[in-house]
Point group: C2
Chain length 229, copies 2
Amino acid sequence: MVYAAIAAGGAGLRMGTELPKQFLELNGKPILIYTLERFVGLTDKVFLGIAKEQKALTEELLKDYGLSEKVVITPGGINRMETIYNILKDIEAKCSVTDNDIVITHDAVRPFVSNRVIEENIEKCRQFGAAGTFVKTVDTVCISESGEYVSAVPDRNMLYNVQTPQTVNFKLLKKALCKHTDDFEKYTDLCGLLCTEEIKAAMVQGDYSNIKITTPSDLKFAEKFVEEN
Amino acid sequence: MVYAAIAAGGAGLRMGTELPKQFLELNGKPILIYTLERFVGLTDKVFLGIAKEQKALTEELLKDYGLSEKVVITPGGINRMETIYNILKDIEAKCSVTDNDIVITHDAVRPFVSNRVIEENIEKCRQFGAAGTFVKTVDTVCISESGEYVSAVPDRNMLYNVQTPQTVNFKLLKKALCKHTDDFEKYTDLCGLLCTEEIKAAMVQGDYSNIKITTPSDLKFAEKFVEEN
Protein backbone atom coordinates (compact mmCIF):
# COMPACT_ATOMS: atom_id res chain seq x y z
CA MET A 1 0.00 0.00 0.00
CA VAL A 2 1.05 3.56 -0.68
CA TYR A 3 -0.17 6.10 1.88
CA ALA A 4 -0.05 9.81 1.20
CA ALA A 5 0.67 11.98 4.26
CA ILE A 6 -0.21 15.60 3.49
CA ALA A 7 0.99 18.09 6.11
CA ALA A 8 -1.10 21.26 6.39
CA GLY A 9 0.37 22.71 9.51
CA GLY A 10 1.18 26.34 8.74
CA ALA A 11 -0.80 29.18 10.22
CA GLY A 12 0.03 31.30 7.16
CA LEU A 13 1.32 34.28 9.12
CA ARG A 14 3.76 35.34 6.41
CA MET A 15 0.88 35.70 3.96
CA GLY A 16 -0.70 38.46 6.04
CA THR A 17 -4.10 36.79 5.77
CA GLU A 18 -6.40 35.49 8.49
CA LEU A 19 -7.05 32.19 6.79
CA PRO A 20 -4.16 29.67 6.80
CA LYS A 21 -2.59 29.69 3.37
CA GLN A 22 -3.75 26.19 2.38
CA PHE A 23 -7.33 27.55 2.29
CA LEU A 24 -6.56 30.48 -0.02
CA GLU A 25 -8.19 30.05 -3.40
CA LEU A 26 -6.62 29.85 -6.83
CA ASN A 27 -9.21 30.44 -9.51
CA GLY A 28 -11.98 29.73 -6.98
CA LYS A 29 -10.55 26.46 -5.60
CA PRO A 30 -8.60 26.17 -2.32
CA ILE A 31 -4.89 25.36 -2.63
CA LEU A 32 -5.41 22.36 -0.34
CA ILE A 33 -7.91 20.79 -2.75
CA TYR A 34 -5.49 21.09 -5.69
CA THR A 35 -2.89 19.27 -3.61
CA LEU A 36 -5.21 16.48 -2.40
CA GLU A 37 -6.51 15.86 -5.93
CA ARG A 38 -2.94 15.21 -7.08
CA PHE A 39 -2.55 12.31 -4.65
CA VAL A 40 -6.01 10.73 -4.84
CA GLY A 41 -5.75 8.16 -7.63
CA LEU A 42 -1.95 7.85 -7.51
CA THR A 43 -1.95 6.50 -3.93
CA ASP A 44 -4.10 3.98 -2.03
CA LYS A 45 -5.19 6.27 0.81
CA VAL A 46 -4.65 9.95 1.57
CA PHE A 47 -4.20 11.19 5.16
CA LEU A 48 -4.33 14.90 5.84
CA GLY A 49 -2.76 16.30 9.02
CA ILE A 50 -4.45 19.56 9.92
CA ALA A 51 -4.97 21.71 13.05
CA LYS A 52 -8.07 20.89 15.11
CA GLU A 53 -9.38 24.45 14.63
CA GLN A 54 -9.60 23.85 10.89
CA LYS A 55 -11.22 20.44 11.00
CA ALA A 56 -14.80 21.62 10.43
CA LEU A 57 -13.89 23.86 7.50
CA THR A 58 -11.78 21.08 5.98
CA GLU A 59 -14.58 18.50 6.28
CA GLU A 60 -16.91 20.89 4.53
CA LEU A 61 -14.46 21.45 1.69
CA LEU A 62 -13.81 17.72 1.28
CA LYS A 63 -17.55 17.22 0.96
CA ASP A 64 -17.89 20.05 -1.59
CA TYR A 65 -15.19 18.53 -3.78
CA GLY A 66 -16.31 14.90 -3.40
CA LEU A 67 -13.22 13.89 -1.44
CA SER A 68 -14.80 12.86 1.90
CA GLU A 69 -14.48 9.13 1.20
CA LYS A 70 -10.96 9.45 -0.10
CA VAL A 71 -9.23 11.60 2.50
CA VAL A 72 -8.79 10.88 6.23
CA ILE A 73 -8.30 13.85 8.55
CA THR A 74 -5.69 13.44 11.30
CA PRO A 75 -5.04 16.06 14.03
CA GLY A 76 -1.85 17.97 13.18
CA GLY A 77 1.05 18.34 15.61
CA ILE A 78 2.82 21.45 16.83
CA ASN A 79 5.40 21.15 14.04
CA ARG A 80 5.77 19.40 10.72
CA MET A 81 7.54 16.30 12.04
CA GLU A 82 4.91 15.78 14.74
CA THR A 83 2.15 16.13 12.14
CA ILE A 84 3.74 13.37 10.07
CA TYR A 85 4.28 11.26 13.19
CA ASN A 86 0.59 11.67 14.09
CA ILE A 87 -0.40 10.57 10.60
CA LEU A 88 1.77 7.44 10.83
CA LYS A 89 0.15 6.51 14.16
CA ASP A 90 -3.29 7.10 12.63
CA ILE A 91 -2.43 4.89 9.64
CA GLU A 92 -1.31 2.12 12.03
CA ALA A 93 -4.53 2.44 14.00
CA LYS A 94 -6.77 2.29 10.94
CA CYS A 95 -4.94 0.01 8.48
CA SER A 96 -2.83 -3.17 8.69
CA VAL A 97 0.61 -1.96 7.74
CA THR A 98 3.01 -4.41 6.08
CA ASP A 99 6.80 -4.33 5.60
CA ASN A 100 6.50 -3.11 2.02
CA ASP A 101 4.15 -0.20 2.65
CA ILE A 102 5.25 3.27 1.66
CA VAL A 103 4.44 6.76 2.91
CA ILE A 104 4.68 9.66 0.48
CA THR A 105 4.80 12.92 2.47
CA HIS A 106 3.95 16.27 0.93
CA ASP A 107 3.29 19.93 1.81
CA ALA A 108 -0.36 20.97 1.49
CA VAL A 109 0.82 24.27 0.01
CA ARG A 110 2.68 22.71 -2.93
CA PRO A 111 -0.33 22.27 -5.22
CA PHE A 112 1.55 21.98 -8.53
CA VAL A 113 3.43 18.72 -7.96
CA SER A 114 3.29 16.67 -11.16
CA ASN A 115 2.18 13.06 -11.61
CA ARG A 116 5.69 12.24 -12.82
CA VAL A 117 7.25 13.45 -9.59
CA ILE A 118 4.78 11.47 -7.46
CA GLU A 119 5.26 8.31 -9.54
CA GLU A 120 9.06 8.54 -9.51
CA ASN A 121 9.03 9.07 -5.74
CA ILE A 122 7.04 5.88 -5.24
CA GLU A 123 9.20 3.94 -7.69
CA LYS A 124 12.54 5.06 -6.20
CA CYS A 125 11.29 4.50 -2.67
CA ARG A 126 10.33 0.90 -3.53
CA GLN A 127 13.80 0.42 -4.99
CA PHE A 128 15.94 2.23 -2.38
CA GLY A 129 13.81 2.57 0.77
CA ALA A 130 13.72 6.37 0.67
CA ALA A 131 13.40 9.09 -1.97
CA GLY A 132 13.00 12.83 -2.11
CA THR A 133 12.43 15.63 -4.60
CA PHE A 134 15.13 18.16 -5.43
CA VAL A 135 15.95 20.92 -7.89
CA LYS A 136 19.36 22.42 -8.61
CA THR A 137 19.98 25.59 -6.66
CA VAL A 138 19.80 28.66 -8.87
CA ASP A 139 21.37 31.12 -6.40
CA THR A 140 24.96 31.20 -5.27
CA VAL A 141 24.97 29.93 -1.69
CA CYS A 142 27.77 30.35 0.85
CA ILE A 143 28.43 28.95 4.30
CA SER A 144 29.27 31.17 7.25
CA GLU A 145 29.84 29.60 10.63
CA SER A 146 30.20 32.91 12.46
CA GLY A 147 27.66 34.99 10.55
CA GLU A 148 30.42 37.60 10.20
CA TYR A 149 32.73 36.15 7.57
CA VAL A 150 32.22 33.78 4.66
CA SER A 151 33.68 30.35 5.54
CA ALA A 152 33.16 28.55 2.24
CA VAL A 153 31.36 28.67 -1.09
CA PRO A 154 30.26 25.12 -1.94
CA ASP A 155 30.34 24.07 -5.58
CA ARG A 156 26.96 25.12 -6.96
CA ASN A 157 26.77 21.91 -9.00
CA MET A 158 26.41 19.92 -5.79
CA LEU A 159 23.71 22.09 -4.22
CA TYR A 160 20.00 21.31 -4.40
CA ASN A 161 16.86 22.92 -3.03
CA VAL A 162 14.74 20.46 -1.13
CA GLN A 163 11.14 20.09 -2.26
CA THR A 164 8.46 17.55 -1.39
CA PRO A 165 7.26 14.78 -1.89
CA GLN A 166 9.63 12.87 0.39
CA THR A 167 8.86 9.19 0.37
CA VAL A 168 9.95 6.50 2.82
CA ASN A 169 9.21 2.88 3.66
CA PHE A 170 6.54 3.09 6.39
CA LYS A 171 8.34 1.05 9.04
CA LEU A 172 11.71 2.66 8.38
CA LEU A 173 10.16 6.11 8.77
CA LYS A 174 8.21 5.19 11.90
CA LYS A 175 11.40 3.88 13.52
CA ALA A 176 13.37 7.02 12.57
CA LEU A 177 10.65 9.36 13.84
CA CYS A 178 10.28 7.45 17.12
CA LYS A 179 13.94 8.17 17.90
CA HIS A 180 13.41 11.92 17.48
CA THR A 181 10.15 12.68 19.29
CA ASP A 182 12.14 14.95 21.64
CA ASP A 183 13.75 17.06 18.93
CA PHE A 184 11.16 17.21 16.15
CA GLU A 185 11.50 21.02 16.03
CA LYS A 186 15.09 20.64 14.77
CA TYR A 187 13.88 19.29 11.43
CA THR A 188 12.02 21.36 8.86
CA ASP A 189 11.49 18.31 6.65
CA LEU A 190 12.31 14.61 6.48
CA CYS A 191 15.47 15.16 4.47
CA GLY A 192 17.58 16.30 7.43
CA LEU A 193 16.15 13.62 9.69
CA LEU A 194 16.90 10.86 7.17
CA CYS A 195 20.47 12.15 6.86
CA THR A 196 20.89 12.08 10.65
CA GLU A 197 19.73 8.46 10.60
CA GLU A 198 22.05 7.69 7.69
CA ILE A 199 19.12 6.73 5.51
CA LYS A 200 20.15 7.68 1.99
CA ALA A 201 17.36 9.35 0.05
CA ALA A 202 17.41 8.70 -3.70
CA MET A 203 16.88 11.88 -5.69
CA VAL A 204 13.90 12.59 -7.92
CA GLN A 205 14.24 15.64 -10.10
CA GLY A 206 11.60 18.17 -9.10
CA ASP A 207 10.11 20.98 -11.12
CA TYR A 208 10.69 24.68 -10.52
CA SER A 209 6.91 25.08 -10.71
CA ASN A 210 6.47 22.77 -7.68
CA ILE A 211 6.61 25.82 -5.42
CA LYS A 212 5.65 26.11 -1.78
CA ILE A 213 3.15 28.94 -1.51
CA THR A 214 4.25 30.93 1.54
CA THR A 215 4.43 34.61 0.56
CA PRO A 216 2.16 37.01 -1.36
CA SER A 217 4.61 36.93 -4.29
CA ASP A 218 4.35 33.10 -4.37
CA LEU A 219 0.59 33.52 -4.53
CA LYS A 220 0.95 35.90 -7.49
CA PHE A 221 3.08 33.30 -9.28
CA ALA A 222 0.53 30.59 -8.43
CA GLU A 223 -2.37 32.62 -9.83
CA LYS A 224 -0.45 33.11 -13.06
CA PHE A 225 0.49 29.42 -13.18
CA VAL A 226 -3.15 28.30 -12.80
CA GLU A 227 -4.27 30.76 -15.49
CA GLU A 228 -1.71 29.44 -17.97
CA ASN A 229 -2.08 25.69 -17.31
CA MET B 1 38.54 56.86 -3.77
CA VAL B 2 35.60 54.51 -4.07
CA TYR B 3 34.98 53.17 -7.58
CA ALA B 4 31.73 51.46 -8.51
CA ALA B 5 32.07 48.62 -11.03
CA ILE B 6 28.65 47.76 -12.46
CA ALA B 7 28.58 44.56 -14.52
CA ALA B 8 25.92 44.46 -17.23
CA GLY B 9 27.01 41.37 -19.06
CA GLY B 10 23.93 39.22 -19.50
CA ALA B 11 22.25 38.72 -22.84
CA GLY B 12 18.93 38.23 -21.06
CA LEU B 13 18.08 34.95 -22.79
CA ARG B 14 16.09 33.59 -19.84
CA MET B 15 13.77 36.58 -20.08
CA GLY B 16 12.62 35.62 -23.58
CA THR B 17 13.09 39.17 -24.80
CA GLU B 18 15.31 40.53 -27.57
CA LEU B 19 16.66 43.37 -25.47
CA PRO B 20 19.13 42.40 -22.71
CA LYS B 21 17.32 42.52 -19.37
CA GLN B 22 19.18 45.58 -18.03
CA PHE B 23 17.38 47.66 -20.69
CA LEU B 24 13.88 46.51 -19.79
CA GLU B 25 11.81 49.29 -18.30
CA LEU B 26 10.17 49.54 -14.91
CA ASN B 27 7.57 52.28 -14.86
CA GLY B 28 9.14 53.78 -18.00
CA LYS B 29 12.77 53.78 -16.80
CA PRO B 30 15.37 51.15 -17.75
CA ILE B 31 16.52 48.82 -14.94
CA LEU B 32 20.13 49.85 -15.65
CA ILE B 33 19.36 53.50 -14.90
CA TYR B 34 17.83 52.64 -11.53
CA THR B 35 21.00 50.76 -10.65
CA LEU B 36 23.42 53.46 -11.79
CA GLU B 37 21.49 56.15 -9.92
CA ARG B 38 21.97 54.19 -6.71
CA PHE B 39 25.77 54.40 -6.99
CA VAL B 40 26.20 57.94 -8.35
CA GLY B 41 26.50 60.10 -5.22
CA LEU B 42 27.54 57.31 -2.89
CA THR B 43 30.78 56.59 -4.81
CA ASP B 44 33.45 58.78 -6.45
CA LYS B 45 33.22 57.35 -9.96
CA VAL B 46 30.98 54.80 -11.60
CA PHE B 47 32.29 52.41 -14.29
CA LEU B 48 29.82 50.36 -16.30
CA GLY B 49 31.01 47.20 -18.07
CA ILE B 50 28.72 46.51 -21.03
CA ALA B 51 28.89 44.61 -24.33
CA LYS B 52 30.18 46.59 -27.33
CA GLU B 53 26.91 45.99 -29.20
CA GLN B 54 25.03 47.91 -26.52
CA LYS B 55 27.41 50.86 -26.24
CA ALA B 56 25.47 53.25 -28.49
CA LEU B 57 22.14 52.55 -26.81
CA THR B 58 23.73 52.94 -23.38
CA GLU B 59 25.35 56.26 -24.27
CA GLU B 60 22.00 57.54 -25.44
CA LEU B 61 20.32 56.47 -22.18
CA LEU B 62 23.05 58.02 -20.04
CA LYS B 63 22.52 61.29 -21.91
CA ASP B 64 18.74 61.12 -21.47
CA TYR B 65 19.07 60.66 -17.73
CA GLY B 66 21.88 63.20 -17.22
CA LEU B 67 24.45 60.55 -16.31
CA SER B 68 26.97 61.00 -19.17
CA GLU B 69 29.45 62.90 -17.02
CA LYS B 70 29.10 60.54 -14.09
CA VAL B 71 29.38 57.11 -15.69
CA VAL B 72 32.30 55.68 -17.69
CA ILE B 73 31.52 52.90 -20.17
CA THR B 74 34.03 50.02 -20.32
CA PRO B 75 33.81 47.15 -22.84
CA GLY B 76 32.46 44.05 -21.06
CA GLY B 77 34.20 40.69 -21.11
CA ILE B 78 32.93 37.27 -22.12
CA ASN B 79 31.95 36.53 -18.53
CA ARG B 80 31.33 38.42 -15.31
CA MET B 81 34.87 38.11 -13.92
CA GLU B 82 36.39 39.35 -17.18
CA THR B 83 34.00 42.31 -17.20
CA ILE B 84 35.16 43.29 -13.70
CA TYR B 85 38.79 42.72 -14.70
CA ASN B 86 38.32 45.00 -17.72
CA ILE B 87 36.83 47.68 -15.48
CA LEU B 88 39.80 47.49 -13.08
CA LYS B 89 42.21 47.92 -16.00
CA ASP B 90 40.17 50.86 -17.27
CA ILE B 91 40.21 52.50 -13.82
CA GLU B 92 44.01 52.09 -13.68
CA ALA B 93 44.36 53.64 -17.13
CA LYS B 94 42.17 56.64 -16.33
CA CYS B 95 42.76 57.35 -12.61
CA SER B 96 45.74 57.23 -10.23
CA VAL B 97 44.89 54.34 -7.96
CA THR B 98 46.23 54.39 -4.39
CA ASP B 99 46.60 51.63 -1.78
CA ASN B 100 43.42 52.65 0.02
CA ASP B 101 41.12 52.73 -2.99
CA ILE B 102 38.07 50.50 -3.02
CA VAL B 103 35.98 48.87 -5.74
CA ILE B 104 32.33 48.17 -5.07
CA THR B 105 31.06 45.65 -7.66
CA HIS B 106 27.38 45.21 -8.44
CA ASP B 107 24.99 43.54 -10.88
CA ALA B 108 23.30 45.94 -13.30
CA VAL B 109 20.08 43.95 -12.88
CA ARG B 110 19.83 44.45 -9.09
CA PRO B 111 18.19 47.89 -9.18
CA PHE B 112 16.75 47.86 -5.65
CA VAL B 113 19.97 47.86 -3.61
CA SER B 114 19.57 50.25 -0.67
CA ASN B 115 21.85 53.11 0.39
CA ARG B 116 22.42 51.31 3.69
CA VAL B 117 23.76 48.22 1.93
CA ILE B 118 26.10 50.30 -0.26
CA GLU B 119 27.36 52.32 2.70
CA GLU B 120 27.93 49.29 4.91
CA ASN B 121 29.83 47.57 2.09
CA ILE B 122 32.22 50.51 1.80
CA GLU B 123 32.61 50.79 5.56
CA LYS B 124 33.30 47.08 6.14
CA CYS B 125 35.64 46.94 3.15
CA ARG B 126 37.69 49.83 4.61
CA GLN B 127 37.85 47.97 7.89
CA PHE B 128 38.46 44.40 6.68
CA GLY B 129 39.71 44.63 3.07
CA ALA B 130 36.73 42.83 1.59
CA ALA B 131 32.97 42.71 2.16
CA GLY B 132 29.92 41.19 0.52
CA THR B 133 26.14 41.19 0.79
CA PHE B 134 24.21 38.15 2.01
CA VAL B 135 20.75 37.10 3.11
CA LYS B 136 19.82 34.00 5.10
CA THR B 137 18.70 31.16 2.89
CA VAL B 138 14.95 30.61 3.07
CA ASP B 139 14.88 27.20 1.36
CA THR B 140 16.20 23.96 2.75
CA VAL B 141 19.35 23.18 0.79
CA CYS B 142 21.12 19.83 0.59
CA ILE B 143 24.41 18.66 -0.82
CA SER B 144 24.66 15.75 -3.22
CA GLU B 145 28.04 14.77 -4.59
CA SER B 146 26.68 12.12 -6.93
CA GLY B 147 23.41 13.77 -7.96
CA GLU B 148 21.76 10.45 -7.08
CA TYR B 149 21.72 10.44 -3.27
CA VAL B 150 21.67 13.18 -0.66
CA SER B 151 25.11 13.45 0.96
CA ALA B 152 24.39 16.04 3.63
CA VAL B 153 21.93 18.67 4.77
CA PRO B 154 23.93 21.64 6.10
CA ASP B 155 22.52 23.54 9.07
CA ARG B 156 20.24 26.15 7.53
CA ASN B 157 21.42 28.73 10.08
CA MET B 158 24.85 28.74 8.43
CA LEU B 159 23.60 29.11 4.85
CA TYR B 160 23.36 32.42 3.03
CA ASN B 161 22.37 33.48 -0.45
CA VAL B 162 25.01 35.60 -2.10
CA GLN B 163 23.90 39.02 -3.37
CA THR B 164 25.88 42.01 -4.60
CA PRO B 165 27.45 44.53 -3.89
CA GLN B 166 30.75 42.78 -3.26
CA THR B 167 33.43 45.24 -2.27
CA VAL B 168 37.20 44.81 -2.23
CA ASN B 169 40.34 46.89 -1.82
CA PHE B 170 41.35 47.77 -5.41
CA LYS B 171 44.89 46.37 -5.34
CA LEU B 172 43.89 43.22 -3.46
CA LEU B 173 41.18 42.51 -6.03
CA LYS B 174 43.43 43.25 -9.03
CA LYS B 175 46.04 40.83 -7.67
CA ALA B 176 43.43 38.11 -7.05
CA LEU B 177 41.89 38.53 -10.52
CA CYS B 178 45.31 38.49 -12.25
CA LYS B 179 45.91 35.00 -10.84
CA HIS B 180 42.69 33.68 -12.38
CA THR B 181 42.58 35.10 -15.90
CA ASP B 182 42.65 31.51 -17.20
CA ASP B 183 39.70 30.26 -15.17
CA PHE B 184 37.39 33.26 -14.90
CA GLU B 185 34.47 31.14 -16.12
CA LYS B 186 34.67 29.05 -12.91
CA TYR B 187 33.43 31.96 -10.81
CA THR B 188 29.90 33.34 -11.00
CA ASP B 189 30.78 36.14 -8.59
CA LEU B 190 33.67 37.47 -6.51
CA CYS B 191 32.65 35.53 -3.42
CA GLY B 192 33.98 32.18 -4.64
CA LEU B 193 37.16 33.75 -6.01
CA LEU B 194 37.88 35.54 -2.73
CA CYS B 195 37.39 32.25 -0.84
CA THR B 196 39.83 30.49 -3.18
CA GLU B 197 42.38 33.24 -2.43
CA GLU B 198 41.64 32.99 1.31
CA ILE B 199 40.46 36.58 1.41
CA LYS B 200 37.77 36.68 4.10
CA ALA B 201 34.77 38.76 3.07
CA ALA B 202 32.98 40.51 5.94
CA MET B 203 29.23 40.09 5.73
CA VAL B 204 26.75 42.89 5.18
CA GLN B 205 23.12 41.94 5.67
CA GLY B 206 21.28 42.30 2.38
CA ASP B 207 17.59 42.83 1.77
CA TYR B 208 15.24 40.26 0.24
CA SER B 209 14.08 43.05 -2.09
CA ASN B 210 17.62 43.37 -3.53
CA ILE B 211 16.68 40.83 -6.21
CA LYS B 212 18.50 40.02 -9.41
CA ILE B 213 16.02 40.38 -12.24
CA THR B 214 16.56 37.34 -14.46
CA THR B 215 13.19 35.72 -15.12
CA PRO B 216 9.74 37.00 -16.12
CA SER B 217 8.49 36.31 -12.58
CA ASP B 218 11.32 38.49 -11.18
CA LEU B 219 10.17 41.23 -13.53
CA LYS B 220 6.61 40.89 -12.23
CA PHE B 221 7.91 41.27 -8.66
CA ALA B 222 10.01 44.28 -9.72
CA GLU B 223 7.04 46.03 -11.33
CA LYS B 224 5.07 45.57 -8.14
CA PHE B 225 7.99 46.77 -6.03
CA VAL B 226 8.39 49.96 -8.07
CA GLU B 227 4.65 50.64 -7.88
CA GLU B 228 4.64 50.32 -4.11
CA ASN B 229 7.83 52.25 -3.30
